[in-house]
Symmetry: C2
Subunit: 508 residues, 2 copies
């Protein structure tokens, strides 16, 4: 549930010329431009100063895999299948033993871009399923350098295999074996490898005048946090800050590379994150959501509001700020628009085309839905957010020290039981109260007026909702990364245990 | 305990030419440049973009009067007398019935600047005592437009008189009577009056080539919050945001005025605040301290870390950021340095000269002390902060709904009893943990090493501390603003009750 990413589309000689996005797990409050007190992201701050800062940008889910599936399909996880029905309102993702993944029926952004002549590369974490049918090169990508799952480990290759790293169709090694991560010192040069992959790919596409889409989804800054030697110990914020600085530096180098190649005005770049900072890992391995409530795993602002920057020199006026309500799913629709393509008409697409907001400063009226698994927990309309359900995590987990809201406790809001408020939602004004601390009075005129509008939006959303087949229900140790393609060449094939499919257990 | 202010010094033809400061009650997180999510302070953000942003700047006390006394004397309140010994570690200020005020023995910045030929003006709230001997024109100011106390009210002129507004030596009216504040609509044009006073003063000094010091200390954004008609309803943040926008606009107009008159490169301007945002008044009347813990009245970061911007075109490189540990008391010493004066040598001055940090980017090693009344609660040395005492407020107050840390609760840190940690202070690393949520382990090597250094700093501070005579111990209804000078001309003299001096009660 992390990942930094960049998408880059370069369209050679055409009019709009290019497009790009970074995608990673950093919190709203991790960037200097968003008020991080150490202000150690000069390159991202510069990117914002040269482009457009989005202050009201969201992910589609407070967890990694569903958020990434939403980015690439333009659809809510409850539609594209990246959710579970094993229990009510549970966060689910794609660990090694997950049986499901991205269904063939889903149309991914690179599949569509291919039709317009784009070459598509993913660098970093895929996270949409690791079984053969879910391979990114079967879903529109032309190249891949990275891994299908989180870089957890080291594992013993008996109970759990170490996560493979792929180049295109085949694995070329495993984390902790061939790709070192020193958990003691925090040293790993993975971000440098990912950076080089990005630079090389961009150079190659520029040389061949080939439009491209680069999805740069590094493992950093997900726990276990790492940085390369050059960055270790350089941050006021400890190891997590070192990792942020390396990402920041990489973004700067990629933008500089585009400039050097003369294609910066042909390349649209977007930087954002897949979920809020994981406060559960703080302070050593987790970032900051600024003043927003709670973090990753929750549908409070800290779990789903993301840092976001659009950059396109010559097209986006420098130093602008947008209050457009945005969502990672919009990058699907916006990219298609940039490529001159229409979004698929045979299915519900949740992303909207942000180009009017980005290029003309318009504000598009659209809601933001906050889901946890199969439940719409909250909705934002304008500056108002209504919670239909509240939950942080269970008392049982919380009493064991699992805390998604450390140091924060808003009575009746950060609840440890799943509290339903459908009949009388908790309503917050995010302008006056971005920290979600002061619900509006149920008897106020403002509450009545606003809920009337929100109720209509929610009704419309619910009556037209057709959930996809849930992909994250079944787990089986036999499907883990025992013998990925290419393992024979490396002598790294392992023997899977007997198949034993079970309902996955999702604790929160 | 509020107030926006500007100090401006203009030195005509001399080399450094000029100097200035704004001083007000806004929180660290209230400015766009510091990550406020609505980003509604374009002028202050621009001031930062043209000047230097201080990220580690503090006030000398989490309450208004002591903080202002510290700014003007360069000394901690425990030295200049702005504290109480009525109870341990209590916040005290200068309400209408306070008997004390700034002692004649204290040397104020304008008194010293006068000797170098400066004309000094205070616009706004004085707050260093309202009895005749404490009048600002007796302490170095040449002009005054504003009031001696907070704009609380309306009062009945029987139990409590309405607060007078002075022009120079005499009152010219009272709040709520001659200077309207509509508590229902939030409308008041006071900030516009203060703005005009500033612009006129600057014009006059420029015309006569007279160096000046302007201390612009508006009542806004202290509760009761107000804004003028033009700004009402213009903010995403409600009335508080309207007030912030008006302050922001005023700062922009003052800077623009300096430019227009051709003296911007001769005028040093500093913007900061007297204490953290008053979360007790949130969300309707209180601001934001970003991700910092708690607010005004406390010695957590939210109570004492302040937004701060230095501006001096042609001298301060544009868009720079400083991690210099700074304090409002430094503005005393820095101003003297700019004016070519030495600080007094017959007393302890706590402020340091920030010019090496501002003009040459140097970092001066100096501690920050966090006091509440007569107690040093905490100290910051480098990135580490040690709490020797913790307290938010009493259980009794808290149970009545008085909450300085709404929605926040860090076990063992935001305590509701005065907890002493002198023998084993709670230690935080403010880089890794700016929110003061994760005390370092007492048995870690880091704790031992750091506390050794901090202990020496604290020992030195305590053994050389000579407290001043406490000024905030005695209250008497007879000393209130019944008959300020000039009241006869206006027919606004009231009859004081019989003198009945009592120990002031300071609940927190």
């Amino acid at each position: 549930s992390v990942g930094l990413g960049v998408m880059l589309l370069w369209q050679g000689e055409s009019t709009f010329a290019s497009f790009g996005v970074f995608f990673l797990q950093m919190g709203w409050g991790d960037l200097g431009a968003f008020g991080e007190p150490s202000k150690e992201t000069p390159n991202l701050d510069q990117m914002a100063a040269e482009g457009m800062l989005f202050l009201d940008f969201y992910t589609a889910n407070p967890l990694c895999s569903p958020s990434r599936a939403a980015l690439l399909t333009g659809r809510l996880p409850v539609r594209n299948g990246f959710y579970t029905t094993n229990a009510h309102a549970r966060n689910a993702y794609t660990p090694q033993d997950i049986v499901g993944g991205i269904p063939d029926s889903e149309l991914l952004l690179p599949e569509l871009l291919k039709k317009a002549g784009y070459i598509n590369k993913i660098v970093g974490k895929w996270h949409l399923g690791h079984r053969p049918q879910f391979h990114p090169l079967k879903h529109g990508f032309d190249e891949w350098f990275g891994s299908p799952n989180c870089h957890f480990g080291p594992f013993d290759n008996r109970a759990l295999p170490n996560i493979p790293v792929y180049r295109d169709w085949e694995m070329i090694g495993r984390y902790y074996e061939d790709f070192k991560i020193d958990l003691k010192t925090g040293e790993a040069n993975l971000t440098q490898l990912y950076l080089q992959e990005a630079l090389d790919f961009i150079s190659k596409q520029q040389a061949s005048q080939q439009p491209f889409f680069l999805y740069w989804a590094t493992d950093a800054t997900h726990a276990p946090v790492y940085a390369s030697k050059h960055f270790l110990g350089t941050s006021q914020r400890g190891l997590y800050g070192d990792a942020v600085r390396e990402i920041d530096d990489s973004v700067g180098k990629i933008l500089q590379h585009l400039r050097k190649l003369g294609i910066s005005e042909n390349t649209f770049v977007f930087f954002t994150s897949d979920n809020g900072a994981a406060l559960i890992s703080a302070p050593k391995q987790g970032g900051s959501n600024g003043r927003f409530l709670c973090g990753k795993q929750t549908t409070f602002e800290g779990g789903m509001r993301e840092p976001a920057i659009a950059w396109w020199p010559g097209q986006i006026p420098a130093g602008t700020v947008s209050h457009q309500l945005g969502n990672v799913m919009d990058l699907f629709t916006t990219s298609l628009s940039l490529a001159g393509l229409q979004p698929p008409s045979d299915r519900q697409i949740d992303g909207v085309d942000l180009l009017p907001a980005i290029l003309q400063g318009k504000l598009i009226d659209r809601p933001i839905f906050y889901y946890r698994g199969n439940e719409m927990m909250a909705v934002r309309v304008g500056l108002y957010k209504a919670h239909y359900w509240t939950w942080s995590n269970s008392w049982e987990e919380y009493s064991k020290g699992v805390d998604f809201c450390p140091g924060q406790n808003v009575s009746g809001v950060t609840t440890h039981t799943q509290e339903e408020h459908t009949n009388l939602p908790l309503l917050f004004h995010l302008g006056r109260d971005p920290g979600e601390k002061y619900p509006l009075s149920f008897i106020s005129e403002e509450y009545q007026r606003v809920m009337e509008r929100i109720s209509a939006v929610v009704h419309q959303h619910k009556v037209t909702m057709v959930p996809g087949e849930p992909q994250l229900n079944v787990c089986d140790k036999a499907v883990m990364n025992w013998s990925p393609p290419g393992c024979e060449k490396l002598g790294k094939c392992l023997t899977p245990p007997k198949s034993d499919p079970k309902k996955c257990f999702w604790p929160h």
